[in-house]
């Protein structure tokens, strides 16, 4: 394998790892935020309302950030 080839392969590896880390960070952040919003006293399982709240919370958080992003872009 040529040096340039193996270099770009390694860079691809790093990019993939970075992407994985970004997804992990998003999951971690969303879980924290939605936990605070949705979960009361920890029981033997998440009840239906809590589970639905968490799923909606994650979706609406992402909607909110893209809304904010678009609005900021328009202002520029």
């Amino acid at each position: 394998m040529s040096e340039a080839n193996s270099n770009s392969e390694f860079q691809t590896f790093i990019e993939q790892e970075n992407q994985k880390a970004a997804i992990q960070a998003a999951i971690s952040k969303l879980t924290e935020t939605c936990w605070d919003k949705c979960v009361g006293k920890p029981g033997s399982k998440l009840d239906r309302a809590e589970s639905e709240c968490i799923a909606n919370c994650a979706e609406r958080f992402l909607d909110s950030s893209s809304f904010i992003m678009q609005r900021l872009m328009k202002k520029q």
Binding site: S6, F13, A21, S28, E32, S44, I54, E59, L62
Partner: protein, 93 residues
């Protein structure tokens, strides 16, 4: 994680076996960080929920609460991950 020129040059001189070792170490380091952050988040969130009045030791009901809280936190994380996966497949189709 950004690589400077010097690092890239050094990596290009490694044998395939050595490069695999480097990749393995990067993967392990990433996992270690994810795990550490998880421990930190669960500790913080569950401390806030379960230890309302810190006493001279953890009571058994506090420990029960911490255990449940940790399991529920992992459940919540599972719901978030599933939601993100569904969302990304919805957006790409």
């Amino acid at each position: 994680m950004d690589l400077d020129k010097e690092t890239i040059e050094r990596i290009s001189k490694l044998s395939p076996e050595e490069r695999n070792q480097v990749e393995e170490r990067v993967r392990n380091e990433m996992l270690r960080q994810v795990f550490q952050e998880l421990v930190q988040n669960i500790s913080e969130k569950c401390f806030l929920k379960c230890i309302t009045k810190p006493g001279s030791s953890l009571t058994s009901s506090e420990q029960t609460c911490l255990a449940k809280c940790m399991d529920r936190y992992l459940d919540a994380m599972g719901i978030v991950s599933k939601t993100l996966i569904e969302r990304s497949s919805r957006n790409s189709s």
